[in-house]
């Protein structure tokens, strides 16, 4: 029993030492609380306020300073505006930007378009950036926030601020994503929501921008499904390719796609 108590006391002392050191031997850093979505009234903002908003996002929600700081983890951005023209002319540039504003935007959403020498992902020979798309994942900036960051970076790097304050709402007021909305119940709802009628005629012989679908039911369901999901697979005679959006696979829910396919299969 004595040994049991000795061992127990020794364990408590050891744990106590580690606990004490962690609580009193090192500085207490309170991690930032989870970011809260703020509702912003962009319509009442001046450009200076918009630039300040960009600075706040740059240092906060955007988590840009985690890497873009003096520790050399990523290039400093205080010269991004001045160097944009040079970078766009570089043989390693893979983007499509024509202006400084477009270049910065590209840098935020497609960071691998241009990778500053020495800052690429390990093993990628500076062809791939380790930076994530700021509109996705954990950062999740919306269009207005991206614009504000561009305005701030233009201002900070001493070039003309060309970005306009968007009319759209900022954080917290986005339309629900397709995945979040409840599935539609009828084919008419699907056609209305995805504005298929803008280009196609479903009833009657009226001419339209896209092929007339009033007798499309002669085709197989597989053909119809493919035509919606991959419209470039077969181009109808007399119509140019590249007109129909190729992202219905992302936008439609499975049940909605089936509603549409079944509806079209009945058009004979």
């Amino acid at each position: 029993m004595t040994n049991f108590l000795k061992v127990f006391a020794f364990s408590i002392l050891s744990v106590g030492a580690f606990w004490g050191y962690s609580n009193f031997g090192i500085p207490t850093i309170i991690p930032a609380p989870p970011p809260v979505e703020e509702k912003l009234d962009l319509s009442a903002m001046t450009m200076d306020q918009f630039i300040s908003l960009g600075e706040k996002i740059y240092n906060g929600k955007g988590t840009c300073t985690l890497c873009h700081n003096s520790m050399g983890r990523a290039p400093m951005l205080d010269t991004i505006g001045a160097k944009a023209e040079e970078h766009m002319k570089s043989p390693t540039y893979k983007g499509t930007a024509k202006t400084v504003e477009e270049y910065i935007h590209e840098g935020l959403v497609k960071p691998s378009a241009y990778v500053v020498a020495g800052f690429g992902k390990a093993g990628s020979n500076d062809t791939e950036s380790p930076m994530p798309d700021v509109t996705g994942g954990g950062i999740g900036l919306n269009e207005a926030e991206v614009a504000a960051v561009i305005a701030y970076l233009q201002s900070w790097s001493g070039v003309e601020v060309t970005v306009a304050i968007p009319a759209m709402p900022a954080a917290g007021a986005e339309a629900p994503k397709a995945e979040e909305a409840a599935p539609l119940k009828t084919a008419d709802e699907v056609i209305a929501k995805h504005t298929c009628g803008m280009c196609h005629t479903f009833k009657g012989d009226a001419a339209s921008l896209g092929p007339n679908l009033s007798k499309i039911g002669k085709k197989s369901k597989e053909y119809l499904r493919q035509a919606i999901l991959d419209p470039e697979a077969v181009i109808a005679k007399g119509f140019a390719g590249g007109m129909m959006p190729a992202n219905y696979g992302e936008q439609l829910k499975a049940s909605e796609l089936e509603l549409l396919v079944n509806y079209m299969a009945g058009l004979k």
Binding site: V7, S22, I26, I29, R73, E179, N247, Y248
Partner: protein, 616 residues
């Protein structure tokens, strides 16, 4: 001849079984860049997934929760409750997965050497793990209930994605239990000849199933850190293997296997120390001294490669997400690595101290005593470098007088190149202690002893200089990019020294003379507390690193995909975490000592005279 062939075939079969279980863990995971597919591919994938959905496939969106979606029970802090139970489950789980690994090896050594002491020791270790096994299962059940009760939507989401592997996990527990019980209860039945081989096969199966169980559970944990198999909107479309084989799965698997062995070694070391302190006679003392030495050997053997496994895991975290890596190493958690340095320093110092005390068992060790103080100086100096923070906690006045947050001389010791150099010296120092201990009671008889010793000294000196130059030159005089990259040749240098020294020693001491019989049991009681410190430090360290591994997800259940909107979504600071880890460690140590005590009373047989009716 027939028996030999049967054994060979049996051995090949064992290897094949083991390989089948282990193979999935070592196939490459999709890279981070592959995970982030291009827009064109995403469209095609989405189209395909809608097709799959239409064809009866899976589509599991990410739940959007609010605080009201998290049930509460008055008086229970759900986050702390789940944290503590999960951590206790992990500690016991690590122990019961690890013990069969070295029990298998010890049993095999016993079979090869025909030394029954190894067989007895292996049996004793598995006996300790039996009670711990029940506690692991109970805590696992409690954890499941905790998650269902307090985080039902998270559990539902995870179960929807991993339903096949969760079902397999539950069924594998039956297999694990069956094999464990046959292995344990059949120990004395399956003895001698081919029976012993059958028993060893059960040991291998036990390890294979145990590892598979751990790998499956690791997949759920790592999916929460580096989710895979999801489309850009976070919707899961049924590719369970992609979700299992996520970016951090293998790094965690490797790290946990190595760490578990070191941890299991430290816990059975504490068991041996407990028994040594309670020994009733010199025979028992000698036995448990020997068991403690072997346990410490296991812990050190796994502790040496552990920093490399940890380094690989961290590098992979950076590769997966630079943000995650920087949050871990350079953000709010940076100070955790100073605490880690203290704990690992405690581990190395206590393990070395135990080895030095162990030299007292040998008459031949006296010649190495002078070297110990130099090894101690290297270890303490390395520990202090590892422990030196980069920035200092200063008042404004101190900051002003210092001219910045970095100390003029000590500041340079705070960065990674200095710490990488220190940890390599710490490893070499520990290895040297171990090598001297192994040599202590032997006198080499080969003709090339002087040359062999000279080669080893040259190896150590050249290696140490190389590590130092790599640390100094690449750490301080070249581009930032090379600072961390230089750690790889440093590690390789250490490994070369260790492997080459072991090879030279094994040839040089082949057929060596023994100075005198080792006096097992000639150890101070104080030395046994080094084994306890090893176990406590390891437990606390595992708790701390478990906290940081989980906390780098910050306010996400599943990183950047499934947000944690519970009232406890905040990231706890280090002090808070230290409180929980300390409480957990004390609960665990209490339960472990209870397990030790159970194994003690299991062998007692009291004759209650006059209590039972006399039988005719």
């Amino acid at each position: 001849m027939l028996t030999r062939n049967i054994r060979l075939i049996g051995g090949a079969f064992l290897l094949a079984v083991f390989a089948i279980f282990m193979l999935p863990a070592f196939t490459p995971a999709a890279s981070a860049s592959e995970t982030a597919a291009s827009a064109a591919v995403v469209v095609a994938d989405a189209a395909a997934s809608v097709n799959a959905e239409a064809a009866g496939g899976v589509s599991i969106p990410v739940p959007q929760l609010t605080a009201s979606d998290y049930p509460t029970i008055k008086g229970v802090n759900s986050r702390v409750a789940v944290w503590l139970v999960a951590q206790l489950h992990l500690w016991f789980g690590a122990f019961v997965v690890a013990v069969p690994m070295f029990v298998f090896i010890i049993e095999a050594i016993g079979m090869a050497t025909r030394d029954v002491r190894y067989d007895n020791m292996a049996y004793e270790f598995i006996k300790v793990s039996i009670a711990a096994y029940s506690l692991t299962a109970l805590l696992g059940g409690l954890l499941s209930f905790g998650l269902i009760l307090f985080y039902p939507d998270l559990f539902k989401y995870m179960a929807a994605i991993f339903k096949e592997s969760m079902w397999a996990y539950a069924l594998l527990f039956f297999a694990e239990s069956a094999v464990l019980y046959v292995y344990y209860y059949g120990w004395h039945w399956l003895q001698g000849g081919n029976k012993k081989w059958v028993h060893l096969t059960f040991g291998l199966l036990l390890n294979a199933v145990g590892c598979l169980l751990m790998f499956l559970a690791n997949a759920w944990t790592t999916f929460m850190m580096s989710p895979a198999g999801l489309d850009p909107a976070g919707v899961f479309h049924g590719d369970t293997w992609a979700a299992i084989h996520n970016f951090l799965w293998n790094p965690i698997n490797i790290h946990r296997v190595v760490a578990n062995v070191a941890y299991g070694g430290s816990i059975v070391g504490a068991y041996a120390a407990f028994k040594f302190l309670n020994a009733k006679n010199s025979g028992e003392r000698a036995h448990y001294d020997w068991v403690g030495y072997n346990a410490n050997f296991i812990a050190i053997a796994a502790l040496l490669p552990l920093p490399f496994a940890g380094y690989y895991l961290t590098a992979e975290m950076y590769a997966y997400s630079q943000q995650m890596g920087i949050t871990l190493m350079g953000g709010v958690f940076a100070w955790i690595f100073i605490i880690q340095a203290v704990l690992i320093g405690a581990l190395f110092l206590s393990a070395n101290y135990y080895l030095w005390c162990g030299m007292g068992r040998s008459e031949g060790a006296k010649r190495y005593y002078p070297a110990i103080k130099y090894i101690a100086i290297v270890l303490v100096a390395s520990f202090l470098v590892w422990f030196t923070p980069h920035t200092l906690v200063l008042t404004n006045a101190e900051l002003k007088s210092l001219g910045g947050p970095y100390h003029q001389y000590l500041g340079v010791l705070g960065i990674m190149p200095a710490k990488n150099t220190a940890v390599n010296f710490l490893l070499l120092g520990t290895f040297l202690s171990f090598m001297l201990y192994r040599r202590a009671n032997k006198v080499a008889t080969v003709s090339w002893v002087k040359a062999g010793n000279a080669a080893q000294i040259a190896l150590f000196v050249a290696g140490a200089i190389n590590i130092m130059i790599l640390g100094l030159y690449y750490g301080y005089f070249t581009n930032t990019v090379y600072k961390v990259a230089a750690s790889i040749p440093q590690v390789l240098t250490t490994l070369v020294i260790i492997i080459a020294s072991v090879v030279i020693d094994s040839f040089m001491y082949k057929g060596a003379k023994e100075v005198a019989p080792l006096r097992w049991g000639r150890m101070s009681n104080r030395s046994q507390y080094a084994l306890f410190l090893l176990a406590v430090s390891f437990t606390w360290l595992m708790g701390l690193m478990g906290y940081v591994r989980s906390a780098i997800r910050q306010h996400w259940h599943v990183s950047n995909v499934f947000r944690d909107n519970s009232p406890d979504a905040f990231t706890p600071d280090l002090g808070y975490a230290a409180n929980i880890v300390s409480i957990g460690t004390l609960i665990f140590m209490t339960m472990v000592i209870f397990v030790f005590w159970l194994s003690t009373i299991g062998g007692k047989h009291v004759v209650a005279k006059g209590y039972w009716k006399e039988q005719a």
